[in-house]
Amino acid sequence: MSLTNDYIKQRLAEKFGESISQVEESFGMLSFAAPKDLNLKVMQFLYDDEELQFRFLTDLTAVHYPNRTGEELAVVYHLYNFREKVRLRFKVYTSIEDTRVFTATRLFESANWMERETYDFFGVNFVGHPNLKRILNVDEMTYFPMRKEFPLEDQTRTDKDDEMFGRGGHIGI
């Protein structure tokens, strides 16, 4: 039996009920959000279940949405099922004041560096990570550069304003 997005949705709804939100399918990939304290439970369920078998962590990263109060940071997981060739994306949102999220390193060795990278650039504090320190930036850095409050260009330049990029004239959207 081939694994369809509808079936995955149904299984998730059975298991986690109302906690699963923002379920959508864009470009054929199922995407949903879960509360941040459930992230490991969701991954473990997707990993262990005999039919779902999402046992490969393709990618782990974060996105900063400065305007979503209380859930500014989204940690994004891409999981993959080798047998059925199905991808899946799920997100957990966390506030920027308390960025603690459980680590996935117990389940996936590959999460180790990807979480370090996410910490390095977004400041997501992965609880239980064996070696959570900066990986690409210098150790002395005190801020998290991929957050939207750090504009890339020289502030005196007007040709690089947001309005030149089809957005409102202020930093961040």
Partner: protein, 405 residues
């Protein structure tokens, strides 16, 4: 000896049983800028720690302030041994976001270039594995053909290493007859060189003893560590994005996926060699398929996104309008979120793109295969000899550009 004699020695002398060795960041054996701090007991590695980030260039941050067509040169510099694959992976991702359907001829031309890039990537890796195990000549046999492949890129896009080849929607110009001639020449001459290389290495006693059983990894561990590409296939998992999720009409081609069993350096070497043969066969098939297609199609008909030819911009009103719209960011890029992957030289090269409708991506994340599988290196070389660690590193094909992004 029954009892160890106690002698007071200055600190840092033979009291310590192990010693620390820095392999890198600028060491000829690392073939790139990254550091491995090895704790060695004589010649044997007790533990190691990898440090990366020496050439981090913040591409993901830069990409948030670049229009889509200006991100292509950033992708060049990820895995610079096979930059056309990165370029086209990016174009395919944007096309998927915009819903652009490319003509078959564009797909086949892309396949030719991507497979050529895969060959240049693998030949460097395998050549270097040879160099690190003491056989320099094989590397030189193959290097000659990388030069020819670069001439083909040059004929098509004007540059060699960091190619910036193609555009969203297709290619910037049609392939010239000279380009096709060079591809034919490559197809004719390269197999002989590859055969010679294989004769030199594959059943070479010394080479086999240097690589067999070195840096092995089981399929289960490889999956857990996020391996993809030739390194995963060497461990026996037949996962290839070209087959699992075909893009650019890969479903039209008939090819095999070579797999290994033990995931050691020798298997990785054989898998890469096998893939080069498959790539040659794919290019051959693509060249044959091109004969039945109109020879003047080299881009999709999407004037709102595909930059018009410069001469048309100066002479035609429509082209001028579209040129202006694309450059000034007036073309509507739809909001959307997608993950798209292509089979890069080292594995699954993924692009996680979030567009909010602006002229540049809201967020772009590169899934870089090197970065993910390099974390297994400490485990692969634990307990191995120092010289094996060097071969293991080159057979993983670590590219510093892809590690750091």
């Amino acid at each position: 000896m029954s009892e160890q004699q106690h002698i007071t020695l200055p600190e840092g002398s033979i009291e310590r049983q192990t010693q620390t060795l820095n392999l890198g960041p600028t060491h000829p054996a690392t073939h790139g800028v990254f550091q491995n701090i090895l704790e060695i007991d004589g010649e044997r590695i007790v533990s190691s720690e990898s440090t990366v980030g020496y050439i981090h260039r913040a591409f993901e941050k830069i990409a948030e302030r670049r229009p889509y067509y200006q991100i292509t040169p950033l992708t060049d510099r990820l895995n610079y041994c096979s930059s056309p694959i990165n370029n086209m992976g990016w174009h395919i991702t944007v096309e998927k976001l915009l819903g652009i359907k490319t003509p078959k001829r564009v797909d086949y031309l892309r396949v030719i270039i991507m497979e050529l890039a895969r060959i240049t990537d693998h030949l460097i890796c395998n050549g270097v594995v040879g160099v690190d195990s003491g056989a320099f000549s094989g590397f030189l046999y193959l290097m000659k053909y990388r030069e020819l492949a670069y001439e083909i890129y040059e004929e098509i896009c004007g540059s060699r290493l960091t190619t910036n080849i193609g555009r969203v929607g297709g290619f910037e110009r049609n392939f010239t007859p000279a380009a096709f001639e060079k591809i034919e020449r490559f197809l004719k001459e390269y197999p002989a060189a590859l055969k010679e290389f294989e004769t030199l290495m594959n059943r070479n006693r010394i080479f086999m003893e240097r690589t067999q059983g070195v840096g092995p990894i089981s399929a289960e561990r490889a999956i857990n560590y996020g391996f993809t590409g030739p390194n995963l296939r060497a461990a026996g998992v037949d996962y290839d994005v070209r087959v699992a999720h075909p893009y650019s009409s890969y479903e039209d081609f008939d090819f095999n996926i070579p797999v290994g069993t033990t995931g050691d350096c020798y298997d990785r070497f054989l898998v890469r060699n096998g893939e080069m043969w498959e790539s040659l066969s794919i290019i051959r098939q693509a060249m044959d398929k091109l004969k039945d297609l109109p020879s003047d199609v080299y881009h999709a008909d999407v004037p709102a996104y595909y930059l018009p030819e410069k001469s048309a911009v100066y002479t035609k009103m429509e082209a001028l309008i579209y040129h202006f719209k694309i450059i000034m960011g007036e073309s509507d890029i739809l909001p959307g979120e997608l993950y798209n992957a292509v089979e890069g030289g080292n594995g699954e090269l993924g692009f996680y793109l979030i567009s909010d409708g602006g002229r540049s991506p809201y967020r772009l994340h590169f899934r870089r295969p090197c970065f993910i599988y390099y974390q297994a290196y400490a485990e692969l070389i634990k307990g191995a000899m120092l010289s094996d660690a060097v071969i293991c590193m080159s057979s993983l094909n670590l590219i510093a550009g892809e590690l750091d992004a």
